[in-house]
């Protein structure tokens, strides 16, 4: 067979591909911290990632108003000895308490955005639910604060410590426990990596109901803990719907075994929902049972150029009307975001000329002829009505991946210059893009934006999950700078609050949004949430300083 030429092609493609390499993100959260990151790949998106995590400022220095809570005990050699004894294996404990392990520990202290950095001296990697239980009980008894950590790709600073909280990293719990190919119920360890799990499902004709740019690193437990939305929420709905059951450990060591595989189960309070989106503040998720739909045989992708946000809305409406049940993603990107992706990847843009807006439309269905026909007539319609100025359609799998790369590669490419201020917002769709324009104007007026180094801001860009009214307002910067932050906050939050939007559509609260929850939730709601926290984590050891 043609295996040789296939391989040759793949190799070739990685060199010439027209978009960020097919899978730009897999090793990123790891390689970011290594000095080799800069030489990793001449054309890959990782290129140019600067320095090591040592250059990230400590969260405690950036936010001196956050103080270490003295109720928490300091970690001692005795504590470490306890963990080492029962976790056994050398690799399960990264011990910076009894010896210097700075280099080994740094990747667990710094976050993906290079914005937050903690001071932990101890990382534990449990291998089973029982081990998690033992660790938490001990920490609870000894007043040791902990941070649950998955793939550490979270975008709100929730996955890294602020001070010396112990990092409980879930990567060793990465097995697939069972899969029922009739019902589609998958049971999996919390530490399994999204892309690995989806690959497993693909071989069986199914798909994980969530997909996002960080799939090569993020974990199922982390996805559920952040209630991640991602690229296909439009099609498969939120994790609140697809998660069937959860196994979790409470701070006192109680194992909550609710790994139901049932689609329907109306017997009492649906407590598992509390863990979906709790960001590690009430317990550690150790296993997840989730409903995985059939994988579509026919996937088509079109990439369109449009001249105004008005037209983008018309295209979205037309897509919903004409593609209805086969529409699986509708993503928005402004020209500024695409420009920055191009500057970083040096790849050729899919469309010949530039347009103020781009949309990526994906259809997924079971019959390619049927889907093609629908997509073609939709595209003809929007071209004829001049809703869309130009566009391309992927003719093969590689083009499908490359076109997706122009969307999925944005977060990573924006980080190229140094740092990114990220706002992940739910906004009524008609006003979605006005915020980007107003913010860009504001930052420019303040003289903070420009091509040269004295300007902290490179550009203000907007992109996101148009299909879910979810905008990512991102400010790409050369360095994190309080002056920039002052222009952005509370401006953005007030803008959102006025429109009854959400200040965090899918990334969660973590440390970044904790102070601003009041812009989206009433005092009553916040008080109720605090009651839940108190009930499940009375001593407050779980992921302190964050969330609410």
């Amino acid at each position: 067979m043609a295996s040789r030429s296939r391989v040759a092609l793949v190799l070739r493609r990685t060199r010439i591909s027209t978009a960020p390499s097919t899978n730009p993100l897999r090793p990123l959260s790891q390689i970011r911290w290594q000095s080799t990151a800069t030489t990793e790949d001449a054309e890959g998106v990782a290129q140019g990632t600067t320095g090591t995590s040592k250059t990230i400022k400590f969260t405690s220095e950036t936010y001196p108003e956050i103080k270490r809570d003295s109720k928490f005990a300091e970690i001692t050699e005795d504590h470490v000895k306890f963990f080492k004894e029962f976790l056994g294996k050398e690799a399960s404990v990264i011990d910076g308490v009894t010896k210097d392990a700075t280099d080994d520990i740094e990747p667990f202290n710094g976050d993906w955005m290079r914005k937050y950095r903690g001071h932990t001296k101890l990382v534990l990697k449990p291998g089973s639910t029982q081990e998690v239980s033992k660790i938490l009980k001990y920490c609870n008894d000894n007043m040791l604060a902990v941070v649950p950590q998955g793939g550490n790709t979270g975008l709100v600073g929730g996955s890294v410590p602020v001070f010396d909280e112990i990092v409980i990293n879930m990567s060793r719990m990465n097995q697939i426990r069972s899969f029922d190919d009739v019902s589609g119920a998958l049971v999996v360890d919390a530490g399994a990596i999204l892309e690995v799990v989806d690959g497993y499902l693909a071989e069986r004709g199914n798909i994980f109901p969530l997909d996002l740019g960080a799939k090569g690193s993020c974990q199922i437990g982390g996805n559920v803990a952040t209630n991640a939305g991602g690229l296909r929420l439009l099609r498969y709905g939120s994790l609140h719907g697809s998660v069937l059951g959860i196994e979790a450990v409470l701070p006192d060591g109680t194992i909550v075994d609710d790994l139901s595989k049932l689609r329907k189960n109306n017997t009492g309070y649906d407590l598992k929902q509390l863990f979906v989106g709790a960001e590690g503040t009430i317990g550690i998720i150790t296993g997840v049972s989730i409903l995985c739909p059939q994988r579509s045989k026919a996937v088509n992708v079109a990439f369109l150029g449009l001249e105004s946000y008005e037209k983008v809305q018309q295209a979205f409406k037309a897509a919903k009307g004409q593609l209805s049940e086969i529409l699986s993603a509708f993503e928005l990107m402004d020209n500024q975001s695409q420009d920055l992706v191009q500057q970083v990847t040096k790849n050729k843009r899919p469309l010949e000329s530039e347009h103020p807006f781009y949309c990526l439309i994906e259809t997924s269905g079971s019959n390619s002829e049927h889907d093609n026909e629908k997509l073609q007539s939709f595209l003809e319609d929007v071209m004829e009505k001049e809703i869309v100025t130009d566009g391309v359609v992927a003719e093969n799998e590689t083009q499908v991946r490359n076109l997706w790369g122009w969307r999925e590669g944005i977060p990573e490419c924006l980080g190229h210059w140094g740092g990114v201020y990220k706002y992940d917002l739910s906004i009524p769709i008609s006003e979605l893009y006005s915020l980007v324009e107003e913010t860009r104007e504001k930052v420019a007026k303040a003289g903070l934006m420009g091509d040269t180094d004295e300007h902290p801001v490179v550009d203000v860009v907007g992109y996101g999950h148009m299909g879910d009214s979810n905008l990512h307002l991102n400010v790409a910067t050369r360095r994190y700078d309080k002056k920039v932050e002052k222009e952005l906050e509370p401006f953005v939050y007030e803008w959102i609050s006025k429109r009854n939007g959400s200040i965090s559509a899918e990334h969660g609260l973590g440390l970044a949004k904790k102070a601003f929850i009041g812009y989206s939730r009433s005092d009553t709601m916040i008080a109720l949430m605090k009651q839940i926290k108190k009930l499940y984590d009375p001593k407050g050891i779980m992921n302190p300083y964050k969330y609410i």
């Binding site: 067979m1 043609a2 295996s3 040789r4 030429s5 296939r6 040759a8 092609l9 793949v10 070739r12 010439i16 027209t18 294996k89 050398e90 690799a91 399960s92 045989k297 026919a298 079109a302 990439f303 369109l304 050729k348 899919p350 469309l351 010949e352 390619s368 073609q376 595209l379 003809e380 071209m383 869309v388 130009d390 566009g391 391309v392 359609v393 992927a394 003719e395 093969n396 799998e397 590689t398 083009q399 991946r401 076109l403």
Partner: protein, 257 residues
């Protein structure tokens, strides 16, 4: 001198990002329900032909670019893609689903078309990724008595003829030939464009002429019989060890140290 009349043979194959699977009877590759696309080398051939026209690299211009395919009914999609990328029209020789045509028969069909259409340049892929035969271009050249410049990584038109570069170990080899000729394309040649919406719509109005092998006086009878198709032996799964001690223990267990 006359303008170029280019023929580009294209083939519908299993998409190269899809892992091919052998059917249960071990007689062929499973094709039903599997994503198909244009053979990637053929994309390069179309792209190059269109670039010759757009960049006016041949002094006497390009008169016509004709895409050609021989294959089952769905090959029409592949021809549409070729026309959306810039071919002017297409010729299609239909075969039954599952009927594989050998390179010699394809070559003979192309010979007849070359004569009928007054073709003076055939640009085809160096191989198709399904059967990997890698013969068609050379066979056409042989049947026509033309020169064949294979595995092109660069094509240019000079005073003295058509110059074609090909990558060889540690360098490039440049050959020159006169028209009419055959060029086969290799990966480094160009970066094929996406089919744009306006062009996809235009392509719908372009003509596909159907003609049978009999009408061309060519027999598609096979001379080779596929006896068996088998998958490569599965890779032995690797194992992970937790640390250096674990690795040493494992190596000892395997008797490696």
């Amino acid at each position: 001198m006359a303008a170029l009349r280019i023929l580009v043979p294209v083939k519908r194959v299993i998409d190269y990002a899809v892992k091919p699977r052998v059917n249960k009877a071990q007689t062929a590759i499973e094709t039903s329900g599997v994503k198909h696309s244009m053979n990637p080398f053929d994309e390069l051939s179309i792209e190059e032909s269109v670039r010759i026209r757009e960049k006016k690299s041949y002094p006497h211009g390009v008169d016509e670019i004709i895409a050609f395919s021989i294959g089952p009914p769905k090959s029409v999609d592949t021809l549409r893609t070729a026309m959306a990328m810039g071919a002017d029209r297409s010729i299609f020789v239909e075969t039954k689903e599952g009927e594989e045509v050998e390179p010699l028969a394809v070559g003979k069909v192309i010979r007849e078309l070359v004569k009928r259409e007054g073709i003076n340049l055939v640009v085809c892929g160096k191989q198709s990724i399904d059967d990997d035969a890698g013969q068609t271009g050379q066979i056409v050249a042989g049947l026509m008595g033309w020169g064949a410049a294979t595995q092109a990584s660069k094509v240019s038109f000079g005073e003295k003829g058509v110059e074609v570069e090909k990558e060889v170990d540690g360098g490039t080899e440049t050959v020159r030939s006169q028209l009419p000729m055959v060029i086969t394309t290799d990966l480094r040649l160009n970066e094929p464009r996406y089919a744009s919406l306006p062009n996809i719509m235009k392509a719908k109005k372009k003509k596909i002429d159907k003609i049978s092998a009999e009408e061309l006086g060519v027999s598609l009878e096979r001379r080779l019989k596929t006896l068996k198709v088998i998958e490569p032996p599965p890779r032995q799964g690797g194992g992970k060890v937790d640390d250096v001690d674990g690795m040493i223990a494992k190596l000892k267990e395997l008797g490696a140290i």
